[in-house]
């Protein structure tokens, strides 16, 4: 157990676009205790995805220190960072991002190819994960044969199948109808409560954010704790 799971110290992120600097995150510091379900809210363009991607190890800060799961991320090479992601991060995308030519089960199995699990162990893990998200009967369906809500549940199964330290989700309900969104949020709640998973979810939907234990607002590059 890593506690806190995430520690950010004096993070800033500056993009250079057409000769001008765009400062997205400014001198931001905070930490996330293990087992937290955190929602990050904020208007579009406020830097929520940027912040999440720094924690996910798919982006690097312009300055500052990022420690996630006990690892100083900004010091890792690309290859090491990829290996680190495979072990510690389960990422849920807004647009599901399933591989269209693979079945639900195969999509979920994909991250397990990076582990030392045997074929039958992999199959067991895949079944468990898909049953957990309520898709035990859709294993052999291709993404195009699933509804948006079902696709996102496969995406969630893919994120948890390798039992990562933390689940990061960028607007996971942004493309879903109300009912499917509720299903996903309920699953996040269960993963957090029953399995003790640390979850960080970016959203601009207040009803989604309410399902988290903790809400933080990102505005003008600064994190605020709500009153």
């Amino acid at each position: 157990m890593y506690d806190p799971v995430v520690t950010l110290q004096r993070i800033s992120k500056v993009y250079f676009r057409a000769g001008t600097e765009v400062s997205v995150l400014r001198d931001l510091s905070f930490s996330i205790p293990a087992g937290t379900f955190l929602a990050i809210m904020g208007p579009s363009g406020s830097g929520k995805s940027t912040l999440l991607n720094l924690m996910a190890g798919i982006d690097r800060p312009t300055s500052g220190v990022v420690v996630v799961a006990g690892t100083r991320l900004h010091e890792l090479s690309e290859g090491d960072m990829a290996r680190w992601r495979a072990r510690h991060i389960g990422y849920v995308f807004q647009s599901y991002n399933l591989i269209p030519v693979l079945t639900a089960a195969e999509n979920v199995e994909l991250p397990l190819l990076l582990t030392h699990l045997s074929r039958s162990e992999r199959t067991d893990h895949v079944k468990t994960a898909l049953r957990l998200v309520g898709l035990g009967d859709r294993m052999d369906h291709y993404p195009r044969q699933l509804s948006g809500g079902q696709e996102q549940r496969v995406g969630l199964a893919r994120a948890i199948v390798s039992d990562p330290t933390m689940i990061l989700a960028d607007e996971p309900t942004g493309n879903l109808d109300r009912e499917s969104a509720e299903d996903i949020l309920t699953l996040f709640g269960r993963l957090n409560r029953e399995l003790g998973k640390t979850i960080v979810m970016v959203t601009h939907d207040p009803r989604a954010a309410e399902r988290a234990q903790l809400i933080r607002h990102l505005e003008k590059g600064v994190l605020e704790t709500p009153p």
Binding site: R83, A86, N97, L110
Partner: protein
């Protein structure tokens, strides 16, 4: 599931593009294969030829004829063991398009001159004893369904008229590049006899003599002695070992051969472009999927193997299809490139197959380089933002 399965599914995911790509590659392999067969055919003759077999032709041109009377002069030249002779017969069966090589040969010396011919003693005897007899290669027999004992009628082009022949034997060859298996051989004496009445001016002439040098005698010395003895006659001769004869033939076509080699290089360049184009399109379309795979923690080498695997699979599918088509195409090609009724039998050897597949393998490897580099350079974030 394995990455191999993902490679396979990616490869077949756009069927039309898949067909166009492997179709394009197959055409290249087909053209490459036919060029190879042509080059092989030219060169194999000189490799397989017998060293102690000398060919004497008219010094001015292979196509001019020599007097039959030279036979006796040749026989007394020191070092000469046997003298055989023959001519192009140019027979046509039913339809001029269905042509094949046919030759009028002195029957008595034929088998000792061409030990490559594999035929039972009974069939040899039957051929030699029947003036109207002929022997045919097994490929020719298979082509027209001819059987031993069957009477066939050929229309003569070099020797005019209708010719009734009887098949007396169907042979195989131990060296098909020198003694083909798609040809017909009949008695020169029979052909010449008729010519004496129809075109007496052209009778008693032969296209070539084939002289076998005695064992332990230098063929070159004998060849020089032959040409010297006919020097300053009305028809001077050019004598070479069969090997040199074929080699000279290759050398005379040198520029053409080099041209063909160049062309095979160029068409393989086309294959490379076809494949690079198809791969680049596919990889671009799937940019986002590769970025997702990277996000999951896969390494650049995994992405390289996905692209390389797809490239090699496409190349081998195209190469395989090309090879399958090469067999019927080689037959068609042989008929279309016939020379005065002489149809080469293009043999698709293991080497030809190997050459086609190795070239495709190389094309597959090279084609993957650029798309793979682009994928490695792409950052995960850029890839995830990629639309489509």
């Amino acid at each position: 599931m394995t990455l191999g399965r993902l490679i396979f599914r990616n490869t077949v995911r756009r069927p039309v593009r898949l067909l166009l790509t492997i179709g394009g590659l197959a055409m290249v392999v087909l053209a490459f294969g036919l060029i190879r067969l042509t080059l092989d055919q030219w060169q194999a003759g000189s490799r397989a030829a017998l060293k102690n077999r000398l060919i004497t032709v008219h010094a001015m041109s292979d196509e001019l004829r020599l007097p039959l009377a030279y036979k006796d002069q040749l026989a007394v030249i020191p070092g000469v063991r046997t003298v055989h002779f023959g001519s192009v017969f140019g027979g046509v069966y039913q339809d001029p398009k269905q042509s094949f090589g046919s030759f009028a040969e002195q029957a008595a010396t034929f088998f000792e001159t061409y030990p490559e011919v594999v035929l039972s003693d009974a069939e040899r005897l039957a051929f030699q004893q029947d003036r109207r007899g002929c022997i045919i290669g097994h490929r020719l027999a298979a082509r027209f369904g001819w059987k031993v004992g069957e009477a066939i009628t050929l229309k003569g082009t070099v020797y005019p008229g209708d010719w009734e022949l009887v098949v007396r034997g169907i042979f195989r060859s131990t060296s098909p590049n020198v003694m083909g298996e798609g040809e017909l051989y009949l008695h020169w004496a029979y052909a010449n006899e008729r010519l004496k009445t129809t075109e007496p001016d052209r009778a008693d002439q032969v296209g070539w003599f084939v002289v076998r040098a005695a064992d332990g005698i230098n063929g070159q010395t004998v060849a020089e002695a032959i040409d010297a003895s006919f020097a300053n006659s009305s028809a001077e001769t050019r004598t070479e070992s069969e090997q040199a004869y074929f080699a000279g033939w290759v050398a005379r076509s040198g520029a053409l051969l080099r041209g063909l080699e160049w062309m095979s290089g160029i068409i393989n360049g086309i294959a490379l472009l076809v494949l690079v184009n198809a791969l680049a399109m596919a990889v671009r379309e799937r940019t986002r999927e590769y970025a997702v795979i990277k996000t999951l923690g896969f390494q650049p080498r995994h992405l390289v193997s996905l692209v390389l695997g797809e490239s090699l699979l496409l190349a081998l599918l195209g190469g395989g299809l090309g090879l399958v088509l090469l067999f019927p195409a080689a037959q068609l090609y042989a008929v279309m490139t016939q020379d005065r009724g002489y149809v080469s039998s293009y043999l698709i050897t293991a080497e030809t197959i190997g050459a086609c597949l190795s070239v495709m393998l190389l094309v597959g490897l090279l084609a993957a380089v650029w798309p793979a580099i682009r994928l490695i350079r792409m950052t995960t974030l850029e890839g995830l933002r990629h639309a489509g």
